[in-house]
C-alpha cells in the first residue's frame, strides 16, 4: 500500500492556500449542489443521500485503518449508537416541543459517538494489531447483543422510529421534502470531510501515520503510541456519530442492523475497495459501493456474489484500491504520456469487460435454471428476454467469456509494454 495521502505539495510552500489545494473542494461543492438538478427523481436523491452518509462513515473508518493502522471490526457501533441517541433526541424534541433546529442534530450525534469512543478507546487503544481488532469485534458484538436486550433504548426488533419534521423550522424549512434533507446531508458531508482532512494535517494526525508505520519509533520521539491512537479513535468515533445522525435524519428509523458486525464488515470493504492509503480513497469506495449496491441489486439476485468477487480482486491485485489505481497513472500523466495508454487500454479492457459480462451471464443462467420455479423458463438479462433452457444463450455467453478472455490475454503484453513506455521519461530509452 503506497501512501501518498500525506505527500506535501511543496515543502517550501507559501503560507497562503494554493489553487491546487482549494480546487478539489470547490469542485466537490459545486458538484454536490448541482447533482439534484441533474438527477431529480426521488430514488436518485435517496441513493445520493445514502452515498453521502456512507462517505462520512467510510472516511471516519479510514481515520482508524488507513491513517492510524487500527483494523476495527466494530465501527458500526459508533455510527449506530450516535444514530440511536439522535432518534431519542428527535422523540424528546417532538414530545417537549423543544426549539432546536434539525441541522444541529449531527453535532449531538457526533458528541454521543465521541463519548462512546472515549470510553472504549481508553482500553482498546493500548495495542494496535490483533489485540485492537479482537477488542473492536468483542465490543461490536456486545453492543449489537444489547440492542435486543435493552429494548427501551434500542427498540428491540422493530427498531427506534422518529419524526424529523417536529424540529424548529430552519429558515422556514421543515425538511418534509427529500431534497431539503439532501442539502442538509450535503452540508454535513462537506464539513465533516473537510474537518477530517484537516485533522490528518495536524501534529496528532501526522503522528497517527507515524504510529501506524512504527509505533516503537514514535515512542522514542516523545509520543505515547497509545495516546496518539486514542485521539484518532475518539475523532473517528465523533465522525461516525455524525454519520449516524445523518442516517437518523434521512431514514427516520434505526434498527439493530445498524449496529451489526455486517455493517462493520461492509465499511471495511468500502474503505478497502476505495483505497485506505489515500485520504480520498474511501470517498470513491463509498460512491462505487452504493452505486453497485443500488444498481446491481435491481438487476440481479446474486449481486452480492459480484461484490464479493470485486472485493477479492481488489485485495489480491490492487491493494491500493480504486484510488491506488487512479494514482498509478500520475507518473505517466506527469510525463505527458497518458494519451498513449488509451488505445492499449481499449484493446485489453473491452474484451475483458465482455468476458466478465459473459461469465456473469453464465452465472445468471445457472442461477435461473436452478432456482426459478418449475415451468418458468423465461428470463431477462441485459434487456433481452429469452428461454434459459435453450442452448443458444448458453453458447453466446460461453463464447463471450472464452473469446473475451482470449482477446484480453492476447493484447495484455502490448498494454504492459505501453505502460512501461508511458512511465519512462521522454528522451530516455524505454
Amino acid at each position: 500500500m503506497t501512501d501518498a495521502s500525506h505527500k506535501t505539495a511543496t515543502i517550501t510552500r507559501a503560507p497562503t492556500l494554493s489553487l491546487g489545494q482549494v480546487l478539489p473542494w470547490v469542485i466537490s461543492v459545486i458538484f454536490l449542489v448541482a447533482m439534484p438538478t441533474i438527477f431529480q427523481s426521488n430514488s436518485a436523491i435517496t441513493i445520493m443521500n445514502q452515498m453521502m452518509i456512507t462517505i462520512v462513515f467510510a472516511l471516519s473508518y479510514n481515520m482508524l485503518l488507513g491513517q492510524g493502522g487500527m483494523l476495527s471490526f466494530g465501527h458500526a457501533v459508533y455510527m449506530g449508537v450516535g444514530g440511536f441517541f439522535c432518534m431519542h433526541l428527535m422523540n424528546i424534541v417532538e414530545a417537549n416541543e423543544l426549539p432546536i433546529p434539525l441541522p444541529v442534530l449531527p453535532i449531538f450525534g457526533g458528541l454521543f459517538g465521541l463519548g462512546l469512543a472515549t470510553i472504549v478507546g481508553s482500553f482498546s487503544t493500548r495495542k494496535a494489531g490483533t489485540v485492537f481488532a479482537m477488542i473492536s469485534l468483542g465490543i461490536g458484538e456486545l453492543i449489537a447483543a444489547c440492542s435486543v436486550i435493552i429494548t427501551a433504548f434500542f427498540g428491540g426488533e422493530e427498531g427506534m422510529p422518529g419524526d424529523r419534521t417536529y424540529f424548529l423550522p430552519f429558515f422556514g424549512i421543515e425538511f418534509l421534502q427529500q431534497i431539503e434533507v439532501y442539502y442538509l446531508i450535503a452540508f454535513w458531508t462537506v464539513l465533516s470531510t473537510l474537518l477530517m482532512y484537516l485533522f490528518s494535517r495536524t501534529p496528532v494526525g501526522r503522528m497517527a501515520n507515524a504510529v501506524r508505520d512504527n509505533p516503537e519509533r514514535a515512542e522514542f520521539l516523545g509520543y505515547s503510541a497509545r495516546w496518539v491512537r486514542f485521539f484518532s479513535f475518539s475523532a473517528a468515533g465523533f465522525f461516525a456519530g455524525i454519520a449516524g445522525a445523518l442516517f437518523a435524519i434521512n431514514y427516520e428509523i434505526l434498527t439493530e442492523t445498524n449496529l451489526s458486525t455486517t455493517q462493520s464488515g461492509v465499511i471495511l470493504l468500502i474503505a478497502f475497495l476505495g483505497g485506505v492509503g489515500f485520504f480520498f480513497g474511501p470517498i470513491i469506495g463509498a460512491i462505487a459501493f452504493t452505486l453497485l449496491q443500488s444498481v446491481l441489486s435491481l438487476q440481479s439476485e446474486i449481486w452480492q456474489l459480484y461484490l464479493g468477487a470485486l472485493f477479492l480482486a481488489t485485495v489480491m491485485y490492487f491493494p491500493g484500491g480504486l484510488a491506488g489505481v487512479l494514482m498509478m497513472h500520475v507518473p505517466a500523466a506527469k510525463f505527458g504520456k497518458l494519451g498513449t495508454l488509451i488505445v492499449p487500454y481499449i484493446k485489453t479492457l473491452v474484451p475483458a469487460v465482455i468476458a466478465i459480462f459473459g461469465l456473469a451471464a453464465l452465472m445468471e443462467l445457472s442461477f435461473h435454471v436452478r432456482h426459478a420455479s418449475a415451468g418458468d423458463d423465461e428470463m431477462t438479462l441485459f434487456w433481452t428476454t429469452f428461454n434459459s433452457h435453450n442452448a443458444l444463450p448458453w453458447i453466446i455467453a460461453s463464447v463471450a467469456t472464452v473469446g473475451g478472455f482470449w482477446l484480453a490475454r492476447l493484447s495484455a503484453p502490448s498494454l504492459k509494454e505501453a505502460w512501461h513506455r508511458a512511465n519512462t521519461p521522454k528522451g530516455r530509452p524505454a
Binding site: M1, T2, D3, H6, K7, T8, I11, T12, R13, P15, L198, F199, R201, T202, P203, V204, G205, R206, M207, N209, A210, D213, N214, E216, R217, A218, E219, F220, L221, G222, Y223, S224, A225, W227, V228, F231, A235
Partner: protein
C-alpha cells in the same frame, strides 16, 4: 556537576538468565562514550534498559540526576534522551521530510495538538530542512523513506534521533552493515551532529570506536571490566585477554 547518565549496580535477568550483572557507569556531559564488547555481552540489553524499552530488575539509572525507573520510552525521550536502533527503525511509508518533521513535533511543543496545521508552521518546515541539510538528504526529501539506500536510511535514522534536540544521544551500532566509505561518511556525520552533546554508542568497528570516542567501556558477560581513555583500554591486559586482543589482531 551531575553526570549526564549515571548507572548504579544495574541488573537485568530474563527468567533465570542474568544478562546484565551489576553495571556501574558514569558518563559526563559532552562526553563521547563507546560501549564495546563481544557478541552476547549485553550491550543492546543495556541500551534497552537505559531507554526504557525493558524494565530493569534492580539498580538505578539516572539521567541528569533524575531516576528513570518505571518511565516509558516517550517520557524518557521528553527528558532529553534519544536513541537510534541497531536495525533501521524509520517510518518507511512516510516521506523523508515527514520522518524528520515528526521527530520535531514534540520538542517544538505541539504535543497532541489537533488545532495546528503542520504545513502552516514555518519553524517546523525550516527545522526539518535544516536537519535534512545536516544529514545530506535534502535531495531526497520527497521520497518515501523506505526507498532510500541502506546508508541513507542509517543517516535518516541518525537525523530522526538528533532532531528532537535531545542532549544525550544513544546510537546502537550506527555503522552496522556498511562499506568502508559509507562508514567514514557516517562517522563524519555523527561527529558533526553530536557536537556539544553527550554521545553513548555501541559499536563493533574498532576504527570507528577509536576514532570517535573519548571514553570506552568494555562490557563482557554483563559486567564492565574496564572504563577509560581509548589508550588505557587498549593497553589493559584484562581487556586484551577478554576481547580486544582478538579484535585488534583481526584489525591489523
Amino acid at each position: 556537576m551531575t553526570a549526564a547518565l549515571e548507572i548504579t549496580d544495574l541488573k537485568k535477568s530474563f527468567g533465570k538468565a542474568e544478562i546484565i550483572r551489576g553495571v556501574n557507569l558514569s558518563i559526563a556531559k559532552g562526553e563521547r562514550h563507546a560501549i564495546i564488547g563481544p557478541n552476547g555481552a549485553g550491550k543492546s540489553t543495556l541500551f534497552n534498559l537505559i531507554t526504557g524499552r525493558f524494565p530493569q530488575t534492580s539498580g538505578s539509572i539516572k539521567l541528569h540526576g533524575h531516576d528513570l525507573r518505571g518511565k516509558a520510552p516517550f517520557e524518557i525521550n521528553r527528558m532529553g534522551l534519544s536513541r537510534s536502533f541497531q536495525i533501521t527503525n524509520i517510518f518507511p511509508k512516510m516521506t523523508v521530510f515527514e520522518n524528520v518533521r515528526c521527530s520535531l513535533l514534540w520538542s517544538h511543543g505541539y504535543k497532541y495538538s489537533f488545532w495546528n496545521m503542520v504545513s502552516r508552521s514555518q519553524d517546523l518546515t525550516d527545522g526539518a530542512m535544516e536537519i535534512l541539510d545536516q544529514i545530506n538528504l535534502l535531495q531526497r526529501a520527497e521520497l518515501p523513506a523506505g526507498l532510500l539506500s541502506y546508508a541513507e536510511q542509517r543517516a535518516l535514522e541518525i537525523g530522526i534521533t538528533i532532531a528532537g534536540g535531545a542532549d544525550v544521544i544513544m546510537l546502537d551500532e550506527p555503522t552496522a552493515g556498511m562499506s568502508h566509505s559509507e562508514t567514514d561518511y557516517i562517522v563524519e556525520l555523527i561527529r558533526k551532529v553530536t557536537q556539544n552533546k553527550t554521545l553513548v554508542m555501541v559499536e563493533h568497528d574498532m576504527g570507528v570506536v577509536f576514532g570517535l570516542a573519548d571514553q570506552i567501556s568494555v562490557l563482557v558477560y554483563g559486567e564492565i571490566i574496564a572504563t577509560g581513555h581509548p589508550e588505557e583500554v587498549r593497553s589493559n591486559p584484562k581487556v586484551q585477554e577478554a576481547y580486544l586482543g582478538a579484535a585488534l589482531e583481526a584489525e591489523h
